[in-house]
């Protein structure tokens, strides 16, 4: 962050924030590349663990999970149906309703309904907990997906670079092998070493045709 403004009038918060975000993005890319490298050499590298921890903490703060209602909203118990919200009058009503419960039972049986509602309240609470967990995992997966996509893009680019490099290497090998073949042909009629034991100097590399073998004078054999 070398270009930070020195004077109050020059300060632009949005520009500083853009620089900060750019820096974070650079660091994130470097970290994800490092994590990918470590993943290639280690089954469970520390970098991956750190990345996963970061993703999980981000997922915990996911707004989808925060938007779900708290579980206590689903509280329901056997006496909830008699409950009233009208303060003191409500308490009297509550008492009266409970008192008249046996009379109510002459008309219909309230217990199955209470049981059903209790079960429903429990299911609602479970469902909310489940939804919260799903939201958490979804957020984690989304983060993972972004990282994976970037890793795949980086890998594709790397593969293209390697493929191009391999072609160049292949051409080089072919060229070397042609030159070697030519050298072998040229060397078929000459001695492997000079009389004093030194190797003959190699021909300079190049596309020039091999020169004819030198004429060597051999001493007459002793009789």
């Amino acid at each position: 962050m070398s270009e930070l403004p020195a004077q109050p009038d020059d300060i632009d918060v949005e520009r500083i924030m853009e620089q900060i975000r750019a820096r974070i993005e650079l660091r994130r890319r470097a970290e994800s590349a490092r994590a990918a490298d470590e993943a290639a050499t280690d089954a469970e590298p520390a970098g991956n663990r750190a990345t996963r921890r970061r993703m999980e903490s981000a997922a915990a703060a996911d707004p989808r999970a925060a938007a779900l209602p708290p579980s206590e909203w689903f509280d329901f118990h056997g006496h909830s149906i008699y409950w009233s919200s009208r303060g003191g009058v409500g308490r009297v009503l509550y008492g009266s309703r409970r008192l008249l419960r046996p009379l109510l039972k002459f008309v219909f049986n309230i217990d199955p309904m209470v049981d059903a509602l209790s079960t429903q309240a429990r299911l609602n609470a479970q469902q909310t907990a489940f939804d919260r967990e799903v939201a958490r995992r979804l957020a984690a997966h989304e983060k993972q997906d972004v990282l994976s996509r970037r890793a795949v893009q980086d890998l594709t680019a790397e593969m293209q670079r390697l493929s191009s490099e391999m072609k160049n290497q292949r051409r080089l090998v072919e060229s070397m092998s042609q030159r070697l073949g030519a050298l072998e042909q040229a060397g078929a009629g000459e001695p492997a070493a000079s009389p004093n034991g030194d190797r003959q100097p190699e021909k300079p590399a190049g596309d020039a045709p091999p020169s004819p073998p030198p004429i060597v004078e051999t001493p007459p054999p002793n009789r």
Partner: protein
């Protein structure tokens, strides 16, 4: 001019945002008008239990009249009703029941407002969401002013508040973001309004040395001032800060305020508890920066106080109001996730010149928009404008309540959905129609 300030709680020891705001405004307006404060006997905003004696008293030279709360809040009932109106299609009757269950239900206060012998020229209601403001505005609409102190939470999406926002004589907004949100959900562009906020008295003798001597804190630190509460973003603050500290961050975190949640047992996190105003300003003088992690704010007074003292701030960018203010003032940075938190905090930690520059911008911003003479001017200008205006001629009257059947038709959308559809983001320089905060 006789003016009533109507607020849910009032007292020197009550330092909730809207209540403190109301007290400051009442004390300032008393220099220009005959002001009386109307409030309840409640001290606790969760239960609304009657703790102060009903009747008249004087606080800081101002007459205060307290009225009893008829029923305490039942959290179970309030939860059920909140779920109904925030999450499900519902009726106006459901919303009215939600309002009653939220409280503070004080019919005596409403009766007092309409008594002819206590007729006020204007009644300034604070906090749109409470019983006293809704029913009070309906009772004296032609004399009602409203300081909504609205945040981006589901309550602002309830249909019952639309006629209130459209029917008052004038609205005193805390920020451009608040005004944009209210205008979106209620369509009250025709109602005279001004973005004004609240001022602050910053003492000249704040002393960093005194703070260090009293607390023994000598290491550089970032300061949080306010209720330590998950709703104020403190859970994320702790988690982010511990991550920052574990990765080499050099600042400590000092917390000043009452505690409503467990604070991590970490030597880098220091808790001061509830502090006096003097101790708060001393802490601000000693801090490197102020952190404001709350995702819901209509106006952060401590942020303004930090700017008044030339201190940079780091705010939660999820809060449109705070983000808008730091962008418009160029007096702080913001974060929306952990990496941004750590990076911005490190940047502020290691760049004293940047801190000084941001702090200087903050002081200038405060002096331009939040000094008391400026706040007074805006209030008095609005009152003068209303004196000359005929609300009937302007075509603004409070819409009548629907009939018995109309109130019971379940055709209203879930409030959370209404708020979700409202535009997000700060109002940036150039988008606001006036050069105000």
């Amino acid at each position: 001019m006789k003016l009533a300030i109507v607020v849910q709680r009032y007292g020197l020891e009550i330092n909730g945002g809207a209540e403190l705001h109301a007290r400051y405004i009442a004390e300032r307006l008393a220099r220009h008008a005959d002001v009386e404060v109307l409030t309840t006997c409640a001290r606790d905003y969760v239960t609304w239990r009657n703790e102060y004696p009903a009747g008249a008293e004087t606080i800081n030279g101002l007459p205060v009249r307290r009225f009893p709360v008829a029923r305490e809040r039942d959290p179970y009932e309030f939860g059920l009703r909140s779920r109904r109106v925030f999450e499900q299609p519902h009726s106006l009757a459901d919303e009215l029941r939600w309002l009653s269950s939220q409280g503070p239900t004080s019919p005596a206060l409403l009766s007092h407002l309409v008594r002819p012998e206590d007729s006020y020229d204007y009644c300034l209601f604070f906090s749109y969401r409470y019983y006293h403001a809704y029913h009070g505005v309906r009772a004296v609409a032609r004399r009602a002013l409203l300081a909504p102190t609205a945040e981006r939470d589901p309550a602002i999406g309830l249909s019952l508040f639309g006629p209130v926002f459209r029917g008052v004589r004038g609205i005193l907004y805390n920020s451009f973001e608040e005004r944009a949100l209210i205008q979106h959900v209620s369509g009250n562009q025709a109602v005279p309004g001004v973005v004004v906020g609240v001022g602050s008295e910053v003492p000249d003798q704040a002393s960093a040395t005194r703070f260090r001597a009293q607390t023994g804190i000598t290491a550089p630190f970032a300061l949080y001032v306010g209720r330590i509460d998950p709703n104020k973003g403190c859970a994320d603050l702790f988690s982010h800060f511990r991550g920052y500290a574990a990765t080499g961050g050099g600042l400590d975190l000092v917390l000043a305020g009452s505690t409503r949640m467990p604070v991590p047992d970490d030597p880098r996190i220091r808790r001061l508890g509830f502090v006096s105003d003097q101790e708060k300003y001393d802490a601000l003088a000693a801090a490197h920066l102020l952190i404001m992690p709350s995702p819901y704010e209509s106006l952060s007074m401590v942020t303004l106080e930090a700017w008044a003292m030339g201190l940079p701030v780091l705010v939660n960018g999820a809060c449109d109001v705070l983000r808008g203010q730091v962008v418009r003032s160029n007096a702080g940075l913001y974060y929306t996730n952990y990496p941004e938190f750590a990076e911005t905090l490190r940047l502020l930690e290691n760049n004293p010149r940047l801190r000084a520059g941001l702090g200087a911008n903050g002081r200038r911003y405060f002096n331009r928009h939040y000094v008391w003479p400026e706040i007074d001017r805006k209030y008095l200008e609005l009152l003068r404008q209303l004196e000359q205006e005929d609300p009937a001629a302007a075509g603004r009257t409070l819409e009548p309540m629907p009939g018995w059947l109309g109130r019971r038709q379940r055709r209203l959308p879930p409030a959370a959905e209404v708020v979700e559809r409202a535009p997000r983001g700060p109002v940036l320089p150039g988008e606001s129609q006036e050069s105000a905060p």
